[in-house]
């Protein structure tokens, strides 16, 4: 049985990854999660400058889910390269850097900065961030912008791969994975825009916009008022998105949103996902990624499948 998954030139040892933002840069979960046994680790978003994050409180509890408004708190590009990347490089799993910014140039600076470094296997582009040039509207709601941003990042990563090859380093062309926002009227339009811009893969979904109001205080619970909804509550939204997107484009789709066990992951794989990520479920059960992989393996054995990609073919 072959559990590996190919995303462009990137070969993930298995289809189960840890989603961006829930896993930091891996180090905090050392000893709780067998990080080397993951298919991929998607880092916390990296922005050009360090970000302190949003005002507190940043979390709220919801039925079968949670809201977060972390605000892309991260140490910034230079500190990521100096302090986080050395440990990530030694991991056996694929390392995908989640990229974010306030402007298109921010995204470009992060990808260009990391292109000069070894030990990163791909980029996941978080287009759910507010775009300051457009009054804070998310990049992901504008298809022309998604296409242009994707093309600029693809070009930068191509240039980086060539430069590394010239200096005798590893020349792999790192995939650009565009992470789609569900907060749009037609997610397949975003998917097609990313495909037109040269994306190598898509991941879906990011969190849904939500609000909780504290009845005692009569204020929104989150300091930022709204936040991103994640967890089991959003799984049906994610499965539907993957089903539609995987039929609208020819790119591999990485499914996430509310996955906590193999049965959840199998719904995504049947819907057309090539791989999956676990986010919020890792908070609840750090063993969830390992159990999910074991369950997928057992399913493939029972169904007599050789490759993960065959799972999608079973959907009637």
């Amino acid at each position: 049985m072959d559990l590996s998954v190919r995303i462009g030139e990137l070969l993930m040892p298995n289809p189960v990854g840890a989603a961006s933002g829930v896993f930091g840069y891996g180090e905090e979960y050392e000893g709780l999660v067998d990080i080397d046994a993951l298919g991929a680790l998607y880092t916390k978003a990296v922005t050009p400058e360090a970000r302190a994050g949003n005002a507190a409180p940043r979390l709220a509890d919801t039925p079968a889910g949670m809201l977060n408004s972390i605000g892309l708190a991260n140490p910034g590009l230079d500190a990521f390269i100096a302090d986080k990347l050395p440990a990530l490089r030694k991991r056996a799993c694929a390392i995908v850097v989640n990229v974010a910014g306030k402007t298109e140039d921010d995204y470009l600076r992060v990808v260009e900065g990391i292109e000069a470094e070894e030990g990163v296997d791909g980029y996941e582009i978080n287009v759910s961030c507010p775009n300051v040039a457009h009054g804070g509207m998310a990049f992901g709601v504008d298809c022309a912008l998604i296409e242009r941003l994707t093309r600029r990042l693809r070009d930068a990563a191509d240039a980086g791969a060539k430069a590394r090859a010239r200096s005798g380093g590893p020349s792999a062309r790192r995939p650009i994975i565009v992470k789609l926002s569900p907060n749009v009227s037609d997610i397949t339009a975003s998917a097609k825009a990313a495909e037109a811009g040269g994306a190598d893969a898509l991941s879906c979904i990011n969190t849904l916009v939500g609000m909780v109001i504290d009845l005692k205080k009569k204020t929104p619970t989150l300091a930022m008022k709204t936040g991103g909804l994640s967890g089991p509550a959003i799984r049906p939204v994610g499965v539907a998105a993957v089903y539609r997107v995987s039929r609208a484009v020819a790119l591999p789709v990485i499914g996430l949103g509310g996955i906590g066990c193999a049965d959840d992951a199998l719904q995504y794989l049947l819907a057309g996902a090539s791989a999956v990520q676990l986010g919020t479920a890792i908070f609840a059960r750090p063993e969830a990624p390992a159990d999910t992989l074991a369950g997928i393996r057992a399913f493939m054995e029972a169904e007599g499948l050789e490759r993960v990609a065959e799972i999608a073919g079973l959907l009637r």
Binding site: V22, G24, R58, L59, D61, I70, T280
Partner: protein
């Protein structure tokens, strides 16, 4: 730090809406020290999805047992309050940085309000043992309650000061008011856990007395291990710290209590 399933050894009500939950502690996970905490799953497979944090209220290595004291507040703690001896809880811990020893020659003043009861009680027992061996004075524990009905049915260290807002038992007033009335000729070292207004009042007292102040803080958590930056707490200088990994015990003079 480990994730393990622990049998509940006892769950008993100790005051209105307050419970003490004792459970088997796995020694390999590490020492559950005062000020440190654990997180538990408090419900079914999917709901609530986020683990609930609680501070340790004791550890008895001889019995292999740890405990926390919790207030029934919402759905997670309601679920916990229905547990019985022999049931199993899903524990992750010990997490966070606990209290540091008081300076030599000081008098530790331990202030607890509301759900701060558990960690302050644990610390009081620990410091009483250590004070007997020397370097600082015996600790004084002061606990604040709204009214007599809230007083816990627990064995409290000798000399514990009870304060009630309505004067129905002990000192009439808040623990902070008691603090100002306490005549300490020995330099005090403050330790506290409780609601933000109480913590802010102690900050003002500590500043006036130029006393060190170790504060156990609280903030909503998701991962509990420092990975998600969800549990941020604001400092007076405008920066943020993670309660779970940088704390939960901080130098109380640095925290922006008045937020």
């Amino acid at each position: 730090m480990k994730r393990f399933d622990a049998p509940v050894t006892s769950l008993r009500p100790i005051a209105r809406d307050y419970f003490e939950l004792r459970f088997a502690w796995k020694a390999e996970a590490g020492l559950p020290l005062p000020g440190a905490f654990l997180t538990v799953r408090a419900g079914g497979q999917y709901d609530p999805i986020v683990r609930r944090p609680f501070a340790f209220s004791c550890y008895a290595p001889d019995r292999g047992e740890a405990a926390f004291i919790f207030q029934k507040r919402g759905r997670g703690t309601a679920w916990l309050s229905g547990l019985r001896a022999g049931d199993s809880i899903d524990v992750l811990g010990p997490l966070g940085k606990g209290f540091s020893p008081p300076p030599p020659g000081s008098r530790p003043l331990l202030i607890g309000g509301g759900i701060g009861l558990g960690p302050m009680l644990y610390l009081a027992h620990q410091l009483a043992k250590e004070a007997a061996r020397g370097s600082f004075e015996a600790p004084v524990l002061a606990l604040g309650f709204r009214t007599e009905a809230q007083l816990p049915k627990l064995e409290l260290p000798a000399g514990t000061v009870l304060c009630t807002d309505d004067g129905s038992a002990g000192f009439h007033g808040s623990v902070a008011e008691w603090l100002w009335s306490f005549d300490s000729s020995v330099p005090p070292a403050l330790f506290a856990c409780g609601p933000a207004p109480m913590m802010a009042a102690i900050d003002r007292y500590a500043a006036a007395r130029n006393a060190p102040y170790q504060a156990a803080t609280e903030q909503w958590m998701a991962c509990g291990v420092g990975a998600c930056a969800g549990c941020a707490i604001r400092l007076k200088d405008g920066s943020y710290k993670r309660v779970c990994a940088d704390g939960p015990v901080f130098d109380g003079s640095l925290i922006a209590w008045e937020d």
